[in-house]
Amino acid sequence: MNYVDKDSFMHRLDPRVKVIVLVFFTVIVFLITRPVLIVIMFLSFLSVWTIVERLPSAGLIKTAKFVAGLMGFIILLQAIFYTGNTYILGPVPKDVWLIGGMGIKWEGIAFGLLLAVRLMALIVLMPMVLMTTPIHLFSLGLIRMGLPYKIAYMTTTSMNLVPTFESELGVIMDAQKMRGMTIFEEKGKRFRKMKAWVVLVVPLVIGAMRRAQMMGMAMDARAFGAFKTRTCIDSIRMRWSDWLTLILCLAYGAALVVLNWILR
């Protein structure tokens, strides 16, 4: 989820507000136990995404498809292994090999759904923040909030590398396609596809390791870490609109937590 250069409400928000709100809402998502409230959060994030920000949805849909599989797996796993007694399928008699005693429990399905819906909320929230904040301002925000700049740079440099990896992966895939790798163009065959990933991942990882070492060296060579603090050509300032947004978001999150407690 790369930065999209636009002028929008969130783009103009101070990065510190965005970081705090991101962390805050992530925590809230895990604190809340009523799925309906999380769905409300999900819908509110989605409406900001589409209506206020008008961010491109293509990436979101792609992620959603990918995550759908993961969510299904989580639900299934929880359905079988979560504690509970209300079986809607099974249990299989205990003497059956391997799956003896297992069944699909309602409690598990409910918990699985809760986890799934949390994931849904996060896959909208996180990209929304990342796509509206250029990485250097993200980093500056973290530093101004007291994070040592070395750690801030570690995070943001890795974030910067994601698009590089994507394009590297593209090049590597091209190279292998030209050696007859066709597996990714065939439908299904999930397992063989997974095996085929080795061919792509190995050069990527080796390349990444080489590059990481070079980058560390280059950063050192440009005096990174010479002093405890560093100057910056960019600056950020909290305006009243930033404070207001922050307060409103905190209030929203707090209200949801209270609601959650009331509805328990």
């Binding site: 091209d174 190279a175 396609k177 066709t182 080795v198 792509l200 080489r210």
Partner: protein
């Protein structure tokens, strides 16, 4: 002698999206056993052409015919059976534990039997001068050897056409020539070779024909000799003829040199002959002897 082109680019236009064109109305033909260099400034469209040829990108307009077939009807894998493509950075392709596995990959994908694979690998290693190194761990090899392994993995599949994208980047003088000599040997064996480079002396030494790209078009398509005879045109696409050619052109202003020379030995011979002529009175030097298409 085959006179149908093995590769025909017909009015190829390509756009990466939006209104900017990366290639405009590019047309040329490559015949069997040609040895062609593609040169031009960064951004002129060289890589884009290669990607269109290999099927990684598909023409926005126009056609590419590979051995008579329209590339639109061929998948990348189909094309890879007829065209071998060696990428610029060898490290992006190496993934296997051993040189043998690296070479075997493409051959297995093509459905060959293990016996056949073994013999092909042995032959290919011999050609690149790495016999007996089947068990080497590719990332541990030197840069030159890694590049050779990648070339080997492509030529093991025995494609009729071999395309090299900047085969000499990152190589030293020795590495450059080793790689180009492999290409030359392939050419001698009957393969068609296409290579993209910034290194003009290589073009002068190896290419029979040079296609010059400038701003998304083909600016010139002729023998290397002919191409380097137009330095002012080449300058527009950031190309300078090899130093030896420039020297010849400079001297031709005051001396009766009549041909554009591409190699040190050629200019040397021409000058020696002129000297003898001048200081003893005989015939001059003949015209440009380099074969055009």
């Amino acid at each position: 002698m085959d006179d149908k082109p093995v590769l025909k680019i017909d009015d190829l236009c390509y756009s990466y999206g939006g209104s900017t064109m990366a290639l405009e109305h590019v047309s040329f033909e490559i015949r069997k056993n040609d040895f062609v260099a593609i040169i031009g400034q960064n951004g002129a469209g060289k890589s884009t052409i290669l990607k269109n040829i290999t099927g990684l990108l598909r023409p926005t307009e126009g056609h590419i015919y590979i051995n008579g077939r329209d590339s639109k009807e061929m998948s990348v894998a189909d094309i890879s059976k007829e065209i071998g493509f060696v990428l610029q950075n060898p490290d992006r392709q190496l993934f296997a534990d051993t040189v043998y596995e690296e070479l075997a990959y493409g051959l297995r994908n093509a459905g060959l039997q293990e016996e056949e694979i073994k013999s092909r690998i042995a032959k290919t290693l011999e050609m690149i001068g790495m016999t007996g190194q089947e068990e080497m761990f590719p990332p541990a090899l030197s840069k030159g050897d890694r590049a050779k392994v990648v070339i080997a993995s492509v030529i093991a599949m025995n494609p009729g056409i071999v395309i090299l994208d900047e085969p000499t980047s990152g190589q030293d003088f020795q590495g450059c020539y080793q790689i180009m000599n492999i290409a030359k040997e392939l050419h001698d064996q009957g393969h068609t070779i296409l290579f993209v480079t910034h290194h003009m002396p290589l073009v002068a030494e190896y290419a029979e024909r040079t296609i010059v790209m400038a701003k998304r078009h083909v600016m010139m398509d002729a023998g290397a000799c002919e191409v380097f005879s137009h330095p002012e045109e080449l300058e527009k696409t950031n190309i300078r003829p090899p130093q030896i050619t420039q020297l010849g052109q400079m001297l031709a202003k005051t001396m009766p040199l009549t041909r554009t020379t591409l190699r040190v030995e050629e200019l040397g011979d021409d000058l020696m002959q002129l000297y003898q002529t001048k200081h003893s009175g005989n015939n001059g030097v003949s015209g440009c002897e380099h074969t055009l298409i």
